[in-house]
């Protein structure tokens, strides 16, 4: 098919073509969009490919005053017989040349639309190893059917889940960006492509933390809102439109008087019937070592809280004999009494009282319990994670827990995953999943730059970001504003997905290397659209993804 010629290169004194970029003019009526790929005839019968970055419209009007005068000195009703001469000119970034010729394209060269195969080639998507679909692109959206290009986009999974690179960070405004849906789309693709079919190693296990409402509490149930066109999109992407498999929901233990989840009774009962539910609890005897996680967001410059926690964990005083949370709280009470002489002088009574304030409310939650009853599907997070198997998908519900408790549970999850992968278990190493992917939304609660630097969760997250790739712990994280996240966490993510955000956010330094037009596009992205950055892509890509495959609660 003959490519549609849409313009010609213009190399001017002020705006020459360079190795990196070029400008071309085109009709003012031709609708192109940033991220569209175009091709230019270049020397030695080669083709240079470019990605549209900026589109400008100019006329021969030299000043605003001319425009004013051209309307009979400010008559808003003035009509002209002749339209001013005008055209669009487009700045494009060079992404490749068919013969690796990178000298600048020459003035007057014809510019045309690319076809599907050329787009693939231009973006370096034609020979992706270990392809993992991460969405699709639509190019020349306003063109006729013949010229429109819809193309599934795959990234090299070695750069997403290791060993070459790891971690995904998704940012965007709540609701408009559909962060959870996008994370789930990629996770589903991973489950389908690798977890269920991976014979080479011990497969992949998934741990999702449900932080909002019932978002992830029915990911093994089909999405009844999906129509034919959505199903066709999944087929085009080479994916099934079935929901997640092998899912187990871990709810925080609730009592009749105290509910710790937004899941309805019916939902939980139906999941119990399918043997997909556990209720997690924390038992003093086994979990007291995790107490530090309750203090993740507490500023502790003098490290007095740290001292108290060490005091308790090392079973000093009477703490070695305590078996229940109730006794623990009573013991703390003793330390808070005026004139107590139980502790050394380094920890003041005021510090004990502060400690008490922090733990009292949290440890009264029913998840801090006496013991677990296996027959009633009760478990400890540690036990569950230490026994996680390949292909397992754990959804750990923390949505209704108060913030300190959410941090506590999340911290406990990553600590246990870390312990598991570092071999702190009796299990045969071959039995442990080679990769565990953790998805957490609202990462800002745990890894924002405001979090105290000594926060155990932050330390652990940095460790995962920096070392997780080699350990097989992969972090998929999401947050509203990427700029607030500690840069050692985002800096170690190999893949970034930018959803709809606001103007203040894009002015932050995290976005300084993204061209202005793409940054501005981030403020206009529709739901289901993302700008993706991955080491194998020659340019950032604007991708779309279909509706989620699992049940959506309204």
């Amino acid at each position: 098919m003959q490519s549609k010629i849409i313009g010609k290169i213009a190399a001017t004194e002020n705006r020459p073509t360079t190795i990196d970029e070029f400008y071309f003019w085109t009709s003012k009526n031709l609708i192109l969009n940033p991220f569209d790929v175009i091709k230019v005839n270049h020397i030695s019968d080669s083709t240079t490919y470019g990605v549209v970055e900026e589109i400008s419209h100019i006329t021969d009007t030299p000043s605003y005053l001319t425009s004013y005068i051209s309307n009979d000195f400010g008559d808003v009703e003035a009509i002209t017989n002749t339209e001013r001469i005008g055209m669009n000119y487009i700045k494009a970034k060079v992404v490749g040349n068919s013969k690796n010729i990178y000298i600048p394209v020459t003035n007057g060269s014809q510019v045309s639309m690319a076809d599907r195969y050329e787009v693939e080639k231009a973006l370096g998507l034609d020979n992706v190893k270990n392809p993992l679909v991460c969405g699709y692109i639509q190019m020349y959206e306003s063109a006729d059917n013949q010229n429109r290009v819809t193309l599934p986009i795959s990234l090299n999974s070695d750069f997403l889940i290791g060993p070459e690179g790891a971690h995904l960070n998704i940012s965007g405004i709540s609701g408009l960006a559909a962060k959870t849906s996008y994370a789930m789309f990629i996770l589903k693709a991973i489950q389908e492509k690798y977890a269920m079919n991976d014979t080479e190693n011990n497969g992949i296990a998934f741990i999702f933390l449900n932080v909002k409402g019932r978002d992830l509490l029915a990911i093994d149930e089909p999405n009844l809102d999906m129509d034919n066109s959505d199903q066709k999109l999944y087929e085009m992407l080479g994916l099934s439109h079935e929901p997640f498999k092998n899912v187990r929901y871990l709810y925080p233990y609730s009592t009749n008087n105290y509910s710790n989840t937004y899941a309805s009774k019916d939902l939980i009962e139906s999941q119990i019937d399918r043997n997909k539910v556990s209720f997690y609890k924390y038992i003093y005897e086994y979990d007291k070592d995790s107490l530090d996680l309750l203090f993740s967001n507490i500023d502790d410059p003098a490290q007095t809280m740290d001292s108290i926690i060490n005091y308790i964990i090392s079973a000093q005083g009477n703490f070695g004999n305590i078996k229940t949370w109730e006794n623990f709280r009573n013991e703390i009470d003793e330390y808070c009494k005026a004139g107590n002489s139980k502790t050394d002088k380094e920890i003041s009574i005021a510090s004990w009282r502060k400690f008490k304030r922090i733990i009292s409310k949290s440890t009264k939650n029913p998840i801090f319990s006496q013991r677990t009853v296996e027959e009633k599907n009760e478990t400890r997070i540690q036990d569950s994670i230490m026994n996680i198997k390949k292909n397992d998908v754990f959804v750990i519900d923390i949505a209704k827990l108060e913030e300190t408790m959410q941090s506590f549970v999340f911290g406990d999850v990553i600590r246990n995953v870390y312990d598991l992968k570092l071999g702190q278990t009796q299990r045969d190493e071959n039995d442990i999943p080679s990769k565990i992917i953790i998805f957490i939304d609202e990462l800002n609660k745990y890894a924002s730059s405001d979090i105290p630097k000594n926060s155990p969760i932050l330390r652990q997250l940095i460790d995962i970001a920096e070392r997780g790739r080699s350990l097989g712990i992969i972090l998929f994280s999401a947050e509203q504003f990427r700029s607030v996240i500690y840069d050692r966490v985002t800096g170690n993510c190999s893949t970034h997905a930018y959803g709809r955000t606001n103007a203040i956010e894009i002015s932050k330094k995290d976005y300084q290397f993204i061209p202005n037009v793409y940054k501005n596009m981030m403020t206009r992205l529709k739901q289901g659209e993302y700008i993706i950055q991955n080491p194998i892509f020659r340019s950032v890509l604007k991708i779309k993804f279909p509706k989620p495959v699992y049940k959506q609660f309204k």
Binding site: D60, T61, P62, S63, L65, T66, S67, I69, S70, N71, D72, F73, A78, I79, T80, N81, T82, E83, R84, I85
Partner: protein, 382 residues
């Protein structure tokens, strides 16, 4: 590798001086052109109704807004002239004048201008003495032209010269210069090309009562019957639907009944008013009569001089009835109202003559100029 001037000197047995090369053109920014040759007298009207006062066409032009405009074609011709060398023949020194001629015509459809015709020609003007024998002049210069086009410097650049023009060597009067003779020849050649374009449009039935051609500048050609155009009635009929619009004119040449200057009637012309059309019989064009009138398209409070914002319009009188009684006043009104509606957009900021420019003409001029070789490039061929 020989340059063109060296080659010409060699071929014509002259001696090249290799003098400084430069562009001869200058642009007048004034709406007043004191060099306009002939008086326009109010003695005779060029339209059917003998008007005593100016006519307000604001209402009529307003009514026409949004309807299909009368003017569909826009014609402009321009030339750039350069003195490229001095050459000596028989102990006399003559300038060699080179020129780039461009004639363009644009068509308007759906408010967009579309290029219709573009004629670009490179020419050289030499004195008569360049042909030492003085015989078979045309063939000599035709051959010389062909030989010049074979010179490497032109061949490599795919540039050719379409004509060698010959200027007279009459004895110079005080104030006269040979340069101006050469320039005049190039100007005549440009006008010839313009006439060709008009003839071609007329021949192809492009011009009719609903599709007028608006030409930049006067229609008063020095000699209507020149070159290929011998039959005056055919030439005139080509101009049935052609209007000439001049940005500059000499208001002093507009006389009242008693032969006194009537410049004030033009200077005081209110906005969107036109003067009566005067009959004008050109002394230089031969047996051709014109109707000439003036219209103000910009309010004088926004212009530098009272003559800015005024266009001089002309139309050739074709039929015997027209020559006898003038053009129908209604037609002149319609033409003028359409001209008024061409007032926007303006080229303010790009051209100091913005108040007198009509945008489609301006664009046609711009189009031609965009096709010229740059002065440096052109001069370096010589």
């Amino acid at each position: 590798m020989k340059r063109i001037t060296e080659f010409i000197a060699h071929e014509t047995d002259g001696k090249s001086f290799k003098t400084n090369k430069f562009c001869l053109d200058s642009i007048s920014n004034s709406a007043i052109n004191y060099e306009e040759p002939n008086n326009i007298s109010l003695n005779q009207y060029g339209e059917t109704i003998k008007l005593k006062e100016t006519i307000d066409l604001s209402e009529q032009s307003k009514k026409l807004e949004g309807s299909d405009p009368l003017f569909k074609y826009f014609l402009d011709g321009s030339r750039r002239t350069y003195k490229v060398d001095d050459i000596i023949y028989d102990k006399k020194v003559f300038p060699i004048i080179a020129g780039q001629i461009g004639v363009g015509c644009c068509y308007r459809e759906n408010r967009q201008l579309i290029p219709n015709v573009l004629e670009m020609h490179n020419v050289i003007a030499l004195p008569e003495s360049a042909d030492k024998d003085g015989n078979f002049r045309d063939n000599f210069f035709e051959n010389l032209k062909n030989k010049i086009s074979e010179i490497d410097v032109l061949k490599k650049r795919n540039i050719s010269f379409s004509k060698i023009l010959i200027y007279n060597e009459q004895k110079l009067q005080p104030g006269q210069r040979y340069e101006n003779f050469g320039i005049a020849k190039i100007q005549d050649e440009m006008i010839e090309k313009e006439k060709q374009v008009v003839a071609s449009l007329a021949k192809n039935d492009k011009l009719d009562q609903n599709s007028f051609l608006l030409k930049d500048g006067s229609l008063e050609y020095k000699k209507m019957k020149t070159g290929d155009y011998k039959d005056l009635s055919v030439i005139k009929s080509n101009y049935q639907c052609v209007i000439g619009a001049s940005k500059s004119f000499n208001p002093e040449k507009c006389m009242d009944e008693r032969g006194r200057s009537n410049a004030s009637i033009i200077a005081k012309l209110p906005l969107y008013h036109r003067t009566p059309a005067y009959l004008y019989e050109s002394e230089i064009s031969g047996d051709v009569k014109f109707a000439i009138w003036y219209v103000r398209i910009r309010d004088s409070k926004f212009t530098y001089s009272p003559f800015d914002g005024i266009l001089k319009l002309e139309k050739i009188l074709i039929s015997d009835i027209e020559q006898e009684n003038g053009i129908e006043t209604d037609l002149i009104n319609i033409i003028t109202a359409n001209i008024i509606n061409e007032r926007n957009p303006v080229c303010y900021g790009d051209d100091t003559r913005w108040a007198n420019h009509l945008y489609p003409i301006y664009m046609t001029e711009y189009y031609i100029k965009s096709k010229y070789l740059s002065t440096e490039y052109f001069l370096n061929l010589f």
